[in-house]
Point group: C2
Chain length 309, copies 2
């Protein structure tokens, strides 16, 4: 019984260290040096090469190294019968809210504009946009989204939310399903995308939807790059339907050096840092799922394969 | 009995409008079209030309258009016997804390670095600096400083403060006077300067003091430009004793287009926007002081001329 770490674009060692700190007797291997494939019962993965999971006949559970499992579900050769779990990092909510409140404040205080002015030494003060004049719209009211919406409301922002199932969050006006989507957009100035990536949400940040935002309109994408139709964003900025965007996630990561996002004056790019899962904080739940798998007990944070999250 | 508005680098009209909204019978004039100098009993000023106040023999009270009165006290030809008042804008505390918490979050999340990387399309994610590893030091624990220190403490930052008189602020370790200054600096990572500008505080942000900060050390100056010794800042950045600075105030404003601050990669420049006094919010206290002056009653927020604030 062995735990295999398979990751690309991430260092495996901090994960191994964090797991060993919980239980030093764990048999952990790092792909591609997995030894005997029959040993592998549990895989901890991030952007694994498609097809690789088929090599392990005794694999029972695959755990994502983060909150998203889309990178796993996109594997067309994903073996059937696997249990899939994701990571709920309790510190992630704090980190995410920290990032988002900074992104909102930076927009209200014209930080990107001032930064652009710095190169030419341009002094052009503007009063910050008033909280009372802006409504924050949170798309996706799951574990993260619900807390994010509540915390913005606690900071005296007007907050609306949208999700596929009904939610009851104090001080947050929640809209449900496709029929209420237009109203949600109409009420929103600052759109925060926290949706999981599924077939239903792919390309949801498109010209039709985003042009329904209330002006001044601003987009913060911390969901997935594939939620956004990139060319639509360009047109919305050019036609001044959007005043700017803060993007932390991209269809291809790292974002290609010659992508137009980098050099657009109204786009702020950050390198997927809004929610960096910290191995130390989540190692206990990974070890627990590993043990539950062995014992045949229910798993923590198991993904509903029909919903995709 | 007439109220004269004297300002440079600020539009007078929004102030006149806000005052007239309170009392439309007010006789308000805008310098230099003040008419009969003997009429003037009250002056509302911002960066007035030195000497100009001597022209009004019946002038009794001078009100600053902001929280600072240093621009008034710097006039070597300030008539004696004047009462001096400053503005306490109740909304200013919120705006200031908003700006400061954004500045702190931007530092923790490496925003300035990511901005700089955008030009070259460089993808280089770094984990944010942890709150628990950083101590915020607030210099100046007056009306603004006390609230700022408390609010950072409420956000689970470790907070120390320094002022010339003893303060008792829950969850904030307060240091007093010159004898405890070194210890204050030694405990501080992120230094927030909120001191008033006086002879005792001028140039207080110098190489000796700033090199005592705990690493990583970062400076946020929202006090006055004259608090900072500019060449010392450059050397501290070069010698890596400071990792960066966010500057909102400058000895000369607007900051000259060819000033080196603009183009230094570790300096973030904002055009004095951390505390923009809003005429509507403070017009009532100006009108009240104008009326109290007429009636010979005590004034709101009168400045102690010995302390200078």
């Amino acid at each position: 019984m062995t735990l295999l770490v398979i990751c690309q674009n991430k260092e495996p060692q901090p994960w191994v260290d964090a797991l060993m700190k919980i239980d030093s007797r764990l048999d952990i291997r790092i792909w591609p040096d997995e030894g005997e494939p029959n040993d592998i019962t549990f895989a901890l993965v991030w952007q694994h090469p498609h097809g690789v999971l088929q090599r392990y006949p005794n694999l029972k559970t695959v755990s994502s190294m983060g909150a998203g499992v889309d990178h796993i579900l996109q594997d067309p050769q994903l073996p059937s019968g696997l249990k899939l779990v994701r990571i709920i990092d309790p510190g992630l909510v704090d980190d995410m809210f920290d990032y988002l409140s900074m992104a909102v404040a930076s927009y209200r205080h014209h930080q990107h504009r001032y930064f652009n002015y710095q190169a030419s030494g341009r002094w052009s003060p503007d009063a910050p946009l008033k909280k009372s004049a802006l409504t924050i719209g949170v798309m996706g009211l799951g574990q993260l989204g619900e807390v994010v919406a509540s915390r913005f409301a606690a900071q005296n922002f007007k907050v609306v939310g949208w999700s596929t199932s009904e939610k009851n969050i104090p001080q947050v006006t929640a809209f449900v399903g496709e029929s209420q989507q237009k109203e949600f957009f109409n009420r929103t100035n600052i759109l925060i995308n926290l949706l999981p990536l599924t077939d239903a949400t792919r390309s949801i940040l498109n010209a039709v939807n985003l042009s329904q935002l209330k002006k001044p309109a601003y987009l913060i994408n911390v969901g997935r790059g594939q939620h956004l139709v990139e060319d639509d964003l360009r047109h919305l900025l050019e036609s001044e339907k959007l005043s700017g965007a803060c993007l932390d996630v991209f269809s291809e990561e790292p974002l290609s050096v010659d992508h137009w996002f980098w050099r657009h004056p109204q786009i702020k790019v950050t390198p997927h840092v809004s929610s960096l899962t910290q191995p130390d904080r989540v190692a206990p739940q990974i070890v627990q799922n590993y043990q539950q798998t062995f014992l045949g007990l229910p798993l923590l944070n198991q993904v509903d394969l029909n919903r995709g999250y």
